[in-house]
Amino acid sequence: MRRSSRCVSFATVVVLAVSVSACAMLETREAKLQAVKTVGIISAVGDEMSFARTGLTGLNNRSQSFPIGSWGLDDLIVQQATTALNGRFQVRPVSYQRAVFTAIKDSPVAPVNLIRGDPFKKLVQTEVSPQGLDAYIVITKAKANFGGGGRKVEGVGFITYGTLLASSNHIHALYEIRVIDGKTFDVIEKMTAQPLDNTEAVRLPGPSRLVDESFSPSTGDPARNENLHGAITDLIARSLSSTLSDMHLADVR
């Protein structure tokens, strides 16, 4: 009897300890965001566009990349994010070397990424000015698998998915958003942009849509393809505000 009462007491202490730590964790992100007044926005998504063939392809299915810096997608992202966040935060302009942020790649060995930590924390500390803002919103390319095979796609791109009887074309703008504490440089929040409510059989874990052949970069210089430019811009514009809202940074839809 005495033994079972000891067990009950021990269990109660464990439950209380777990509950207290859970409450402490609950406060972490929300409390940190509450304290944020001034933010800077960094975007490094739209320097180039990939062009890949997947599904039933020939033996040479390497992806190609085309520069699309002239589209000014990153300036557009900063502008749209500024508009979305201005109600809640004071958005301050920041300067940074965009190429340094786009050069960051995840290691294919998952434990290495866990051990080395988030590389963007250090970049914000060393490459962004001014320092001293409460937080920095960092928007960078995200990577995802496409189809059931081993194909990975990243950032802004165009994919032709080949099947035995037909093929389809998809465009995507995959990006992720981090909120980095301006004092400690810890990542307060991180989220990948969500898919739009499309109903295609082949989906990506981010903003994407089906397009026709006229959007294909193979029909000419992709940077001059206005259809492609407009469609990618639309994907980003429609997804950015909802992603910021999902992160509890903006109350817009």
Partner: protein, 299 residues
């Protein structure tokens, strides 16, 4: 090609047990289908933010795709048996909305790709091998039970092109056997249309003596009890075969799939009196299943 979580609850006792298992699953499927009957994978439920957050890792907020389903697998009663039975197979997975379902074969162990270069993946793998009870099947009378085993090890996967997968698994048994098992497979994956995919390819399994003898070896005591000759089963090439899978996505929610896996036992597994006199070296597994996917949004 959906077999994300296939925990096979094999009940060799009664068919009633299977029916009682299938009924709630089918009811749950029907209920979910009724609640979310829209024609797309749009958000079916919105859940509040979780009461706590993990100190590391990305936020849980956002859209998640939940897949539930049920299938049936008609497979030999035990490895080497010449009779088969139907077992229910539940299907369940949760993934970020839009995440691609990686191709998976019915024989694959449960695995996590810790190294993922896209066309090359590697990481730990595990497989559960159900116990073999002698009193469940008359062919096994006198041979004694073989306990359940867990096989742990590693896998490598390589896609030379998007439509061709090669995979190897090397696993060490714990529990029912203490041997080493190596599985090799290759699959040509052909999307006929976006919604319909066919895959097929050869399979080969090698097993060490310690993995073979508990199932196919017969010692003097067992021989006397079972009326079979003594047999010292050694390791080596265990089986060779082939498999075919088809999957059809009816709409963004519903998907059906089916597969046939054939293997021919080789070496001492085939030569064992248990197989040669009371069973069959030809082993065929047929599976069929249906799954329903819906999106859940976490605030």
């Amino acid at each position: 090609m959906n077999h994300p979580v296939q925990a096979c609850f094999r009940s060799s006792r009664t068919v009633v047990a299977r029916q009682t298992f299938l009924a709630p699953l089918l009811t749950a499927l029907a209920a979910i289908s009724a609640v979310s009957d829209s024609a797309s994978a749009q958000t079916a439920f919105t859940l509040p933010a979780p009461p706590f957050e993990l100190p590391i890792g990305p936020s849980l907020s956002g859209n998640w795709t939940v897949m539930v389903g049920v299938g049936g697998e008609y497979k030999p009663d035990f490895v080497g048996a010449n009779r088969s039975m139907l077992s229910p197979v539940p299907i369940f997975s949760i993934r970020r909305a839009g995440s691609a379902e990686q191709f998976r074969g019915p024989r694959d162990g449960a695995s996590i790709a810790l190294i993922d270069c896209g066309d090359f993946r590697a990481g730990p793998v595990g497989k559960f091998v159900a116990s073999r009870k002698a009193n469940s099947y008359s062919e096994l009378n006198g041979l004694g039970d073989v306990g359940a085993a867990v096989e742990l090890g590693g896998f490598v996967e390589y896609y030379p092109v998007d439509w061709f997968r090669t995979r190897g698994e090397l696993r060490q048994g714990i529990g029912g056997h203490h041997g080493v098992v190596a599985d090799f497979s290759a699959d040509v994956i052909i999307p006929v249309i976006q919604r319909f995919t066919v895959s097929a390819g050869p399979r080969f399994t090698w097993e060490s003596t310690k993995a073979t003898s508990p199932y196919f070896g017969i010692d003097a005591v067992q021989a006397a009890a079972a009326g079979l000759p003594v047999f010292n089963a050694k390791g080596g090439a265990h089986s060779v075969g082939a498999g075919v899978q088809v999957s059809y996505r009816v709409n963004p929610q519903w998907e059906v799939h089916s597969y046939v896996e054939y293997e021919r036992l080789l070496g001492d597994a085939a030569a064992s009196p248990l197989v040669a006199l009371r069973g069959s070296a030809n082993q065929t597994t047929v599976g069929i299943g249906a799954s329903y996917s819906f999106d859940v949004k976490i605030r």
